[in-house]
């Protein structure tokens, strides 16, 4: 079950993968990217970015806010509670 709504604004994404790192940390209490539920890919020839959230992502439902949202300072990841905080 996901809580709230995460949206990605690709125009703001700088492909820094702070979100991947934060998600991995939330899942493992360690640093890496392999256990992240987010997958950021940059096409280095064109500058295009793709950000995918895996099905396993629950929007950090036991946390005050999603870790990826907290880590992203560019405005690419937005999050809001919907339906009374569900």
């Amino acid at each position: 079950m996901k809580r709230g709504l995460i949206e990605v604004k690709l125009d703001y994404c700088t492909a820094c993968r702070s979100c991947e790192l934060a998600c991995h940390f939330r899942n493992t209490s360690s640093f890496g990217t392999s256990h992240s539920f987010i997958d950021v890919n940059l096409n280095k020839a064109t500058g295009e970015v793709q950000v995918d959230f895996l099905e396993a992502c629950d929007n950090c439902r036991e946390e005050p806010f999603p870790f990826c949202y907290d880590a992203c300072c560019t405005g690419a990841i937005t999050w809001k509670l919907v339906n009374g905080g569900k």
């Binding site: 994404c13 640093f31 500058g47 300072c73």
Partner: protein, 644 residues
């Protein structure tokens, strides 16, 4: 020390016999905590002065710091250390991107590479394993083509690469190592050293994790640092428009000093500079902003695309303030299409923008003076402003064709080959080509550039321009002098230069970016922050003083390497002649020059403060022993290069 914050392993690879040895990282942490420190100590101990930069016995060391790959903001900077083909001394380069973190996630804190492969190879490092793979099919490819080919061959597009282009293969002395296609370990010719080893690339893929001692404590401290960065005023400018907006092409009002026509001047008319200013480029060429690993708080990089005209198509990232100077003002070229395309060309070829720009500017000046003629420079018209000639000459440098072969040696050697007094306007220090802004007006900035252990450059002791203007109280507290890097000021600047030598060494040891540090903004990541992050991450406490002492020792080790290998003395610690003899001609900095008498005074003060010998600039036995470097003193003594 345990393995918290470290991958725990260092890998030694000898390309001559293809042997691989794994060692515990802990073995190397007594002298420093990693990164630049680890690389410098190993190079100092293991490479002797009779070894040339391109000899198999030279090492090239890729070393990560403890904070690299963590939640600490900008935790992406990898150090690369080797013997410098331009200066004969130290190459201590540093690069961001995603390769460094991936290397740690693949299980290694450092790679120490020696030998020379019989034929081109690349290394594939994946989750604790290494394969040495043939790279004959990659030799001759550009950086982008190389990365694409490696990813395709291994069916994995998440592989991160660190590789050389044709410039490194052709042993162009200013060849750099390109990481993630668009980030350069630019200064010091490390790409040529890789080329000399027949090592085309290192590819890495990591699915392992780095463990912190206190996860919650680290998370909290990293978040605090991120908030500091977000609040810091100068960093905000970088977040909005990168280094280009701060000072590129004259900065916001066109009055930020620039090198113009091979440093003939410090001011470029606004009618020219506005064509290359960041806001102009954003409007016409920017596809998006990009950030290195875990750098959402700054993301200083621009991805620019040239779609029309003779320099199209060209696309790539990593354009910073120095490019605008190297290929714009210093050649008097006002065509942004060329400036961007030249930058992207250098990235694809693996050529340092600073070195290439300095070489071109010197050649343009020699042509304008008649010291070089049309038929001596590959039949090119090297008049100021000629963008097509500049592009052709860049290509010739990379392939070492005709006069390009001379320029590929760097501006010092090139001027020695050409003769005719051209050394008098070769902009270099200790053989390191310079492409630096603001040298005449800002004396402390210049002192840091000239005394850099890298040969020459602002990424060592140079204090920032502007960072302490709004916070003189911080400068007073740290350096005993509130007016640091004020225009024209020679007095009381030395302590700030020495402070930044140590502090920036600490940043490089840890693996963070200067742009998040007090180098850019007095209110950014401090020594206390670094100490707190390290303690939360490892459970080990290093005070601010401990960290600065470590930085001081590393700086001294680097200095000693230069003394033993390149024989630098006080005579080498002066700026390029032109900056001391020809004042700025026009604009707000008209009349500014580096005064030799005042410079000598600064040197006296600097050596005194460092505990070095004033007369020769050499280290002293007493000074080194005082900071616990008896081993370094003994080695210098063996080569008779120390003052008792």
């Amino acid at each position: 020390m345990g393995n918290n914050l470290y991958a725990g392993k260092v890998m030694r690879i000898n390309l001559s016999n293809r042997s691989v040895r794994i060692e515990p990282t802990a073995k190397y942490l007594e002298d420093s905590l990693g990164g630049r420190g680890l690389g410098s100590w190993i190079l100092f101990r293991e490479v002797e002065p009779n070894v040339g930069s391109f000899d198999p016995e030279n090492l090239i060391i890729f070393s990560a710091g403890p904070l690299l790959g963590t939640l600490a903001p900008t935790a992406c900077r990898l150090s690369i250390t080797t013997k410098n083909p331009l200066t004969g001394g130290l190459c201590s380069s540093n690069v961001g991107g995603h390769f460094g973190p991936e290397l740690k996630f693949a299980g290694f804190d450092a790679l120490i590479i020696s030998g020379r492969a019989d034929y081109p190879v690349y290394l594939l490092i994946e989750d604790g394993e290494i394969k040495i793979k043939e790279a004959k099919h990659l030799w001759g490819l550009t950086v982008g083509e190389t990365e694409d080919e490696i990813c395709s061959q291994n069916s994995d597009y998440k592989i991160r690469t660190s590789c050389i282009g044709p410039a490194g293969e052709n042993l162009v002395r200013g060849a750099c190592i390109m990481v993630d296609r668009g980030r350069a370990a630019g200064r010091g010719g490390a790409g040529a050293v890789m080329g000399s080893k027949n090592l085309k690339a290192i590819a890495t893929r990591g699915r392992l994790s780095i463990k912190p001692f206190d996860p919650q404590g680290f998370f909290y401290r990293a978040k605090q640092c991120r908030e500091k960065i977000l609040e810091a005023e100068i960093i905000k400018i970088y977040r909005e428009g990168g280094s280009m907006r701060f000072g590129g092409a004259g900065g916001p009002d066109g009055n930020f000093p620039q090198a113009v026509k091979n440093y003939d001047d410090e001011y470029w008319p606004i009618s020219k500079s506005r064509k290359i200013y960041e806001k102009t480029l954003k409007e016409k060429f920017e596809v998006r902003r990009l950030g290195c690993f875990n750098c959402s708080s700054i993301s200083c990089s621009h991805f620019y695309k040239v779609s029309d005209g003779p320099f199209s198509p060209s696309a790539g990232e990593g354009f910073q303030i120095n490019t605008a100077r190297a290929f714009g003002s210093n050649l008097d070229i006002e065509d942004p299409n060329f400036v961007i395309a030249a930058h992207n060309f250098c990235s694809e070829m693996g050529l340092d923008v600073d070195m290439a720009g300095a070489c071109l500017a010197w050649a343009f000046e020699a042509f304008s003076r008649g010291d070089l003629t049309f038929d001596e420079v590959n039949n090119l018209d090297l008049s100021w402003g000629k963008s097509h000639s500049a592009m052709e000459l860049l290509k010739d440098m990379v392939s070492r064709k005709g006069f390009g072969d001379v320029l590929a040696e760097g501006v010092k050697r090139a001027s020695e080959i050409v003769g005719k007094g051209t050394i008098d306007y070769a902009i270099q220090v200790k053989g390191a080509d310079l492409n630096e802004a603001s040298m005449r007006p800002f004396k402390a900035w210049s002192l840091g550039i000239v005394l850099s252990t890298h040969g020459g450059g602002h990424l060592d002791g140079s204090p920032p321009i502007g960072a302490f203007k709004k916070h003189p109280e911080v400068a007073k507290d740290l350096f005993g002098e509130p007016m640091v890097n004020f225009r024209g000021r020679y007095e009381n600047q030395v302590k700030a230069v020495i402070w930044f030598e140590k502090y920036k060494a600490v940043i490089d040891i840890m693996g963070l970016c200067y742009f998040a540090s007090m180098w850019l903004d007095a209110k950014a990541i401090s020594l206390k922050d670094l100490s707190d992050l390290f303690e939360a991450g490892t459970g080990e406490f290093y005070s601010e003083k401990d960290l600065m002492s470590m930085g001081e020792r590393v700086h001294n080790v680097q200095k000693a390497f230069n003394t033993i290998h390149a024989g630098f003395t006080r005579e080498d610690d002066f700026p390029p002649k032109k900056l001391m003899t020809k004042p700025a001609q026009t604009g707000p900095f008209k009349g500014d020059v580096l005064d030799k008498k005042q410079w000598n005074k600064m040197l006296d003060e600097y050596y005194e403060e460092k505990g070095w010998d004033r007369k020769t600039g050499l280290q002293t036995e007493e000074g080194l022993k005082k900071i616990g470097l008896g081993e370094v003193a003994n080695k210098l003594k063996k080569f008779n290069k120390i003052i008792n």
